[in-house]
């Protein structure tokens, strides 16, 4: 897969209209009594993808995952896996395996027996089972822990057992529910890359549910952002971050400064937006399909804003001024909260390029904020 991605001729399947989706979710709705957990979701996932469902708690992402696993049946709509309608097929007959958030390792079985459990259900020959179990334990670097019981392992090791147990059956689809949620930060960062490598090597299609946007960004080939039971945007991590289509997505992924405004001047290749709370005119170097005079929003990421004590050469557009209210020194970057003259607080991050800067910006300084015409994202809703 990595090879394919590096290849110039590689066309991602989701941009290829002829590509056949591997998982087809069609107008799926799931209700629990009156509560609509998943609301009319349609989604295509392609073979070998590492697809992330991202959303806050209660957004329906886990319910969608459980419907793929077969633990819940859709109230309406259908799910196709590799062309087969999954309706009414119980979890034990689906070519789908799941890694549970709690790992759900069988406490009374050794690591080896946990991993072998799924294969034994297929009535495979004994030596075949032990060969595949050993291979899989080798792959997740747990060979020397084969005889241990789950409670004798660390959190990271347990996570790998859970992964091995789900992968060893070579499912068509591997579902991962918050796979890194129980690990500490350092281990999580390391495991993220291991997970991607493992997906590359096994070629299994992964669907990951997570509430952690950073996790989704590093893992996913594509992300589906969910809110209140609906999928609000599907795209690659870059698309989701740089080209959010709604205020919700812009706000949910990373941090963002949001300015409300109206179009004052427009053409095919530019638009000028008067933003009262930004106290300036925002110039965007592309056209926008919006009715004149309608309210719209401009989202600008904190790292795309420049901060300086001197006014920039052209301060007529994309430039505003304010007082530094708070500074957070993070080591690699510093975060500035700048209070504009109108009262709105704008967040700016700047990389700390030098170990010791002479003219550091400090509290109560008057600063100028300016940004490139391509930095702002216009959002209509």
């Amino acid at each position: 897969m990595n090879e394919a991605r590096r290849n110039d001729k590689y066309v991602p399947p989701w941009t290829d209209p002829k590509a056949e989706p591997y998982v087809r979710i069609e107008k799926v709705t799931k209700k629990f009594g009156d509560f609509v957990a998943v609301d009319d979701v349609s989604l295509n996932i392609y073979k070998n993808e590492l697809f992330c469902l991202l959303g806050g708690s209660g957004c329906g992402k886990s319910t969608l995952l459980r419907m793929l696993a077969g633990f819940e049946q859709p109230t309406s709509g259908s799910i196709y896996l590799d062309g087969v309608d999954m309706a009414g097929i119980p979890p034990y007959n689906r070519p789908v395996n799941m890694m549970f958030q709690s790992y759900a390792l069988f406490p009374h079985m050794s690591v080896e027996d946990n991993v072998a459990f799924g294969l034994k259900q297929e009535r495979l020959a004994k030596n075949e089972v032990s060969k595949r179990v050993n291979d899989m334990l080798g792959l997740v670097q747990l060979a020397q822990f084969a005889k241990r019981k789950p409670h004798q392992l660390s959190g990271g090791q347990r996570q790998r057992v859970a992964l091995a147990r789900a992968l060893v059956k070579q499912p068509k689809l591997l579902l991962l529910d918050e796979p890194l949620g129980a690990l500490d930060k350092k281990l999580r960062e390391q495991t993220q890359f291991e997970l991607v490598n493992l997906q590359d090597r096994t070629g299994v299609t992964f669907v990951v549910v997570t509430h952690d946007q950073e996790e989704a960004m590093t893992l996913a080939s594509r992300i589906g952002v969910m809110n209140q039971g609906r999928i609000v945007q599907v795209g690659t991590p870059t698309e989701i971050y740089e080209f959010p289509t709604t205020r919700f997505v812009a706000d949910f992924i990373g941090s963002v400064n949001m300015f409300e405004g109206r179009i004052v001047d427009e053409d095919n290749d530019f638009v000028r937006i008067g933003a009262e709370d930004a106290r300036c005119t925002i110039f965007i170097n592309h056209g926008v399909a919006a009715a004149p005079n309608s309210t719209l929003w401009v989202a600008i990421r904190p790292e795309k804003v420049n901060i300086s004590r001197e006014p920039p050469p052209d301060a007529s557009e994309n430039c505003t001024t304010g007082i530094v209210q708070d500074i957070a020194y993070m080591g690699d970057v510093s975060i500035f909260n700048v209070k504009l003259d109108g009262g709105k607080v704008v967040k700016v991050t700047q990389p700390n390029l030098f170990r010791h800067a002479e003219e550091t910006i400090t509290w109560e300084d008057r600063v100028y904020l300016h940004w490139h015409p391509a930095s702002g994202v216009v959002l209509l809703q």
Binding site: P90, Y92, N93, F100, P107, Q121
Partner: protein
């Protein structure tokens, strides 16, 4: 008298009943009591631990020593009907006379062996029946909605609100020849003459299973209730059908509950006296009954004491061996 066998490993058994104890501590009156105790300046922990130890010392160890003492005495026609172990010779030397004739007697007389084996058989079969009836009950209660759970648990405990003896007498009314079952079957024309159920082993089993069922259900419920249900989902997900998942996951994980429940039923059932006396026939040979006869009919206190000590040892030794291995496994596991 019939339940001596309960107590010997109090502290060792305690961890078997841990699930049950945990449920118990959650009850509001228990919590209130613990709060009050800690307010008085006692550390709750040491107090809670010391209470059962003091209890065991007073009500188990002291009577046990007395019974042990009597078992080494000789029967005499006197008040009390046995000789003293310690005596003074020439009012100078303290002598200790141990008489092992009682033990030799119960080993040589086949009546005791047969009674003992039969008690074990009856207790074992009753325990198995309790498990077969109690497991589905506990499973059902553990898997229903929390609101129903409390109602069903209440129903399991409800019989304790009436006297044990009354409940056993009620079974006589149900089982006897002109009792409820026979009357119904005869009025429906299914049978012509009453089925003899009273004074049969069947009646004894019914009585024991009925009386001890809650002791089986409660520990089973406690282990089944705290089981993580995602383990079952994981099993289904890995291709395991529900019934097989029960055998491979639920059943092994409920072993602590099964062991606790079986001990709670088996141990008192071995020494059971009232149920075989009331429901069983006159020739129902159970060790509890033999003990009773020795004590009250023959006034052979030393022999009866020897029988009691023998039951106790025969029950305690296998349990201790079992406990030893279980503790070792638990240590190896952790």
């Amino acid at each position: 008298m019939t339940r001596i066998a309960y107590v010997p490993l109090g502290h060792r058994l305690a961890h078997m009943f841990e699930p049950l104890a945990r449920q118990l501590v959650r009850l509001p009156p228990v919590r209130w009591l613990l709060t009050q105790v800690s307010r008085l300046g006692f550390s709750g922990k040491s107090l809670v631990i010391s209470v059962p130890y003091v209890w065991l010392l007073l009500f188990f160890l002291v009577p046990f020593v007395i019974v042990l003492k009597i078992s080494f005495a000789e029967q005499v026609v006197a008040q009390p009907p046995y000789t003293a172990l310690l005596g003074w010779v020439d009012e100078k030397f303290l002598t200790l006379k141990l008489n092992i004739a009682n033990y030799l007697f119960i080993v040589r007389d086949s009546l005791y062996w047969k009674a003992y084996l039969n008690s074990m058989k009856v207790a074992a079969i009753s325990t198995l029946l309790c498990l077969l009836v109690g497991y589905p009950m506990a499973y059902g209660i553990a898997r229903t909605s929390p609101a129903w759970r409390n109602v069903l648990l209440m129903l399991v405990i409800l019989p304790f609100w009436t006297s044990f003896l009354l409940r056993v007498y009620a079974w006589i009314g149900i089982l006897k020849n002109n009792g409820i079952i026979n009357n119904i079957l005869m009025s429906l024309g299914i049978i012509d003459s009453p089925i003899v159920m009273m004074q049969t082993p069947f009646a004894v089993y019914v009585g024991i299973v009925y009386s001890y069922l809650p002791f089986m259900v409660m520990p089973l419920y406690a282990t089944l209730e705290k089981m993580d249900l995602t383990l079952l989902e994981a099993a289904y997900d890995l291709g395991c059908r529900p019934f097989k998942a029960f055998l491979r996951i639920t059943l092994p994980l409920s072993i602590p509950g099964i062991v606790a429940g079986c001990m709670l039923v088996f141990i008192p059932a071995v020494g059971e006296f009232v149920i075989p006396e009331l429901l069983g026939g006159p020739n129902t040979l159970m060790i509890g009954k033999v003990l009773w006869d020795e004590f009250f009919s023959n006034r052979a206190w030393p022999v009866a004491s020897a029988v009691a000590i023998a039951i106790l040892l025969l029950l305690v030794i296998p349990i201790m061996i079992f406990q030893h291995y279980q503790a070792r496994d638990a240590e190896a596991g952790r």
